[in-house]
C-alpha cells in the first residue's frame, strides 16, 4: 500500500522513493548519534521494568518465619473468572494457624491476569508481580505449585517475599 500517492504521482517513482527515504535516513542518523531517544530497547540484553501495577506472574507471600501466609480460604479460587486456581486445604496442628494449603496450584495457561485473586485475598497472600517473561513447552510447565509460587530463586534467592501487611494492626487489636 502506498501511503502518499500524491508524492509519487507528482515526482515519478524513483525520485519519490528518495524523497520518502529522507525521513528514514534522518531518523537513523539521529538515533546513531544519540540526538533523539530511541523507542526500542535491546531486549533481552536490556530489560524493561514495568510499574508495580503490572499484572504478571503470581507470587505467594510468606510470613516472617518463612511459611506460607495463605490460609486456603478459597476466596481467590471462588472469585477467579478463569477457574485456574486449585487449592487443597488441610488441618494445621498449630491452633494459631489452624488451616493451611497442602497444595496450591495456578494454571498459567488459563489465567487471564485480571488480578481478582490479589483483590479477593484477605491476608495479602497472593500478589501479581512484574514478571512478564513466560515460556514453556508442555502443558505441565504452565502449572505452578506452591513451592514455585512462593520460593522460586527469583524471589529473594528462594526465601520468598515476606509480607507483614496488617500484622501490626492485627496484633495490636488482637483481632
Amino acid at each position: 500500500m502506498i501511503l502518499n500517492k500524491e508524492l509519487y504521482r507528482h515526482h515519478g517513482h524513483l525520485k519519490g522513493l528518495f524523497i520518502a527515504l529522507r525521513i528514514t535516513i534522518k531518523t537513523m542518523i539521529m538515533n546513531l548519534t544519540g540526538m533523539e531517544k530511541r523507542m526500542t530497547i535491546n531486549y533481552p540484553e536490556e530489560k524493561y521494568f514495568y510499574s508495580d501495577r503490572f499484572k504478571g506472574r503470581h507470587v505467594l507471600t510468606v510470613k516472617e518465619d518463612g511459611t506460607l501466609r495463605c490460609t486456603s480460604c478459597m476466596l481467590c479460587a471462588t472469585y477467579c473468572p478463569a477457574d485456574c486456581i486449585h487449592i487443597i486445604a488441610s488441618n494445621n496442628d498449630d491452633p494459631s494457624v489452624e488451616k493451611a494449603p497442602v497444595s496450591f496450584e495456578i494454571e498459567l495457561l488459563r489465567c487471564v491476569f485480571c488480578g481478582f485473586c490479589e483483590e479477593a485475598c484477605p491476608v495479602d497472600a497472593i500478589r501479581l508481580t512484574g514478571e512478564y517473561e513466560m515460556a514453556g513447552h508442555s502443558e505441565q510447565e504452565w502449572v505452578m505449585d506452591q513451592h514455585y509460587l512462593a520460593y522460586r530463586p527469583l524471589l529473594s534467592g528462594g526465601k520468598g517475599i515476606v509480607s507483614t501487611v496488617d500484622d501490626h494492626n492485627r496484633l495490636k487489636l488482637r483481632l
Partner: protein, 482 residues
C-alpha cells in the same frame, strides 16, 4: 396421642408488621412469623428445642406493651399487633448484634461455617460496620476436640445455648454446659460427647463454634449443592440432603420432616455418603485377574455364564422400582433370594435409630411376594448350602455394611459356587477378591426411586451427581443372559 391433641386447634389471627397471620393456638410468636415466611433475625430459637430467650435478636414491639420483648419467648394471642420494623427495634437488633460480635474473632477465612453463618448473614443486614470496641478481645481456647468428631472453638461461640439444650432435651446426655460470667462465659465440656446424635450440634450451631471433624476444611460450603434424598442407613428412612459437587460428596444433613425424623438424624446416617465418590467406583465390568481387578468386555462374562446355572442373591437396599424391573427382566430365573443385613444395636434407641439396617426390607418383601420368590433368611441359607461348581452366583452387594463379621461369614459361604459375580458400586472392599467379576450398579444417590420405611411409608430417593458407571441398574444387566 391424647384426646385433646386430636381436636383441631383453634386458629388465631394476629398482625405482624402489616401482614395478617393466621396460626393455631399456642404457637410460638417467632415460630408463627418464621412459618409464614417472615425473616426475623434469631440465634437461640430452634423449633426443635426449648425456648431460651438468650440471644435477644428477635425483639418485637407490641401495641399496648410498654417495652420491647423477644418474640421467641411469647405465645400468639388473638388480635395482637406486633412490629419489628420500627426504629427502636432496629436499633436494639443492631446493638445486640454488636454485642455478639465484640469478642468474636475474625476467623471467617478459615471458618467452615462461613457462607452459612448466622453472624455473617445478619451482619450484612443489621451490622454497625464500625466497631465501638476499644479493649482487647477476650481469647478462649480454640480447636478443642470434644469427642464424636465435633470440634469446639470457644472464641467463636455466641452463647445461644442451642447445643446445651440439645444435649439436655434431646439426647439427655448432659455433656455440655455454660460456665463463668460475662465475657468470660464459655461452653464447658463436662465430659466428652458420647451420644449418637452429636453431629446435630454442628448443624444447629448458628456460628462456627462447633464444626464437624469429618467435613472440616474439605470444601467451602458455597462450592456445594444439596440434593434432597432419603437416608439408607436404617429402616427409619430420615429425610436428608447430601452436599456434593463435581469433585465428590462431602456431608449429609437432615431435612425437617415432622412425619419421620423431625429435625435430627443420627451419626451413623451421616456416613452414608462415604462410598459415593471413592476412587474405587466402577466405571465398567471388571474381572479379577493377577490378584487385581481389570476392565473386561461384557462378551467375556457372557461366554463364562452361558452353560451355568444362574442364581441370584439380592440385597435389601434397592429401590422398589429396581426390584420391579429386576423381577420383570429375570422372569425365568427361579433361584432368587434376599440377603438381609443382621440387626445391630438396640431395637429402637428412643430417638431415631433402629436396629434393622435394611433400608427397604418391606419393599423387597413385597416385590418377592409379588414375584412368588422366597425372601426369608432360611431360603438364602438353603441356597448357600446347596451351591455347586456348576452355579453362577450373582450377588447384589449391600451399599453399607455395619456388622462386618456376619458379612464376612456370608461371603465365605458363597465360595462353593463355580462362578461368582458381584453387582456393586465400587471395588474398595477387600472381600471382593472372592469374586470373579464385578458389574457396576448405581448408588442410592444416582437413581430415582422409592423405598418403604418402618412406618410403611414411601420415601423418595433423588438423583444427584454421578461418580461412576451408574446408567445400568440391577435389572438392566439382564442382557448378559440372552
Amino acid at each position: 396421642m391424647s384426646e385433646v391433641e386430636k381436636l383441631p386447634k383453634k386458629m388465631i389471627k394476629l398482625k405482624w408488621n402489616d401482614k395478617d397471620l393466621e396460626v393455631p393456638e399456642g404457637t410460638n410468636l417467632l415460630g408463627a412469623a418464621l412459618n409464614n415466611g417472615i425473616k426475623v433475625a434469631h440465634y437461640c430459637y430452634h423449633p426443635g428445642l426449648a425456648v431460651a430467650g438468650v440471644c435477644r435478636m428477635c425483639m418485637v414491639e407490641q401495641q399496648g406493651v410498654p417495652r420491647p420483648f423477644p418474640a421467641c419467648n411469647a405465645v400468639v394471642a388473638e388480635g395482637i399487633q406486633v412490629r419489628n420494623d420500627t426504629k427502636q427495634i432496629k436499633d436494639a437488633v443492631e446493638w445486640t448484634l454488636q454485642f455478639h460480635l465484640l469478642n468474636h474473632p475474625l476467623d471467617c477465612p478459615i471458618c467452615d461455617q462461613a457462607g452459612e453463618c448466622g453472624l455473617q448473614d445478619y451482619y450484612m443486614k443489621h451490622g454497625q460496620y464500625d466497631s465501638a470496641m476499644i479493649d482487647k478481645k477476650v481469647h478462649k481456647k480454640k480447636v478443642q476436640d470434644i469427642g464424636c468428631d465435633v470440634v469446639l472453638d470457644a472464641e467463636r461461640c455466641i452463647l445461644c445455648a442451642r447445643c446445651t439444650r440439645f444435649v439436655d432435651d434431646v439426647t439427655k446426655t448432659h455433656e455440655l454446659g455454660i460456665v463463668n460470667r460475662g465475657d468470660h462465659a464459655e461452653i464447658s465440656v463436662q465430659k466428652e460427647l458420647h451420644n449418637d446424635y452429636a453431629q446435630n450440634l454442628v448443624d444447629i450451631c448458628p456460628v462456627g463454634a462447633l464444626t464437624s471433624k469429618d467435613f472440616r476444611f474439605k470444601q467451602r460450603v458455597w462450592f456445594l449443592e444439596d440434593v434432597e434424598s432419603t437416608c439408607i442407613g436404617c429402616e427409619t428412612g430420615c429425610s436428608v440432603k447430601i452436599s456434593q459437587n463435581k469433585s465428590g460428596a462431602y456431608r449429609v444433613r437432615p431435612i425437617v420432616d415432622s412425619e419421620v425424623n423431625g429435625f435430627w438424624m443420627c451419626d451413623d446416617g451421616r456416613k452414608i455418603y462415604k462410598h459415593l465418590s471413592t476412587p474405587g467406583r466402577l466405571v465398567g465390568p471388571m474381572v479379577f485377574k493377577n490378584s487385581m481387578f481389570l476392565p473386561v468386555a461384557e462378551s467375556e462374562i457372557k461366554e463364562k455364564i452361558k452353560s451355568k446355572n444362574i442364581k441370584f442373591i439380592l440385597s435389601a437396599g434397592l429401590s422398589n422400582e429396581e426390584y420391579q424391573s429386576f423381577f420383570k427382566e429375570f422372569k425365568n430365573i427361579k433361584n432368587i433370594t434376599l440377603y438381609q443385613l443382621p440387626k445391630t444395636g438396640a431395637e429402637f434407641d428412643g430417638i431415631l435409630k433402629r436396629a434393622d439396617k435394611n433400608c427397604n426390607l418391606r419393599g423387597a418383601q413385597k416385590a418377592f411376594k409379588l414375584a412368588g420368590a422366597d425372601s426369608s433368611e432360611e431360603a438364602m441359607k438353603k441356597m448357600l448350602d446347596t451351591l455347586t461348581s456348576q452355579d453362577a452366583l450373582f450377588v447384589v452387594m449391600p451399599e453399607i455394611v455395619y456388622d462386618h463379621d456376619n458379612y464376612a461369614s456370608f461371603l465365605s459361604k458363597i465360595k462353593k459356587a463355580g462362578l461368582r459375580v458381584a453387582l456393586t458400586t465400587d471395588d474398595m472392599r477387600s472381600e471382593f477378591s472372592d469374586f470373579h467379576f464385578l458389574l457396576p450398579v448405581p448408588t442410592f444417590l444416582e437413581k430415582e426411586g422409592h423405598i418403604i420405611n418402618y412406618q410403611n411409608k414411601e420415601r423418595k430417593l433423588n438423583k444427584g451427581r454421578s461418580y461412576g458407571a451408574s446408567d445400568r441398574n440391577v435389572g438392566d444387566w439382564a442382557h448378559l443372559f440372552h
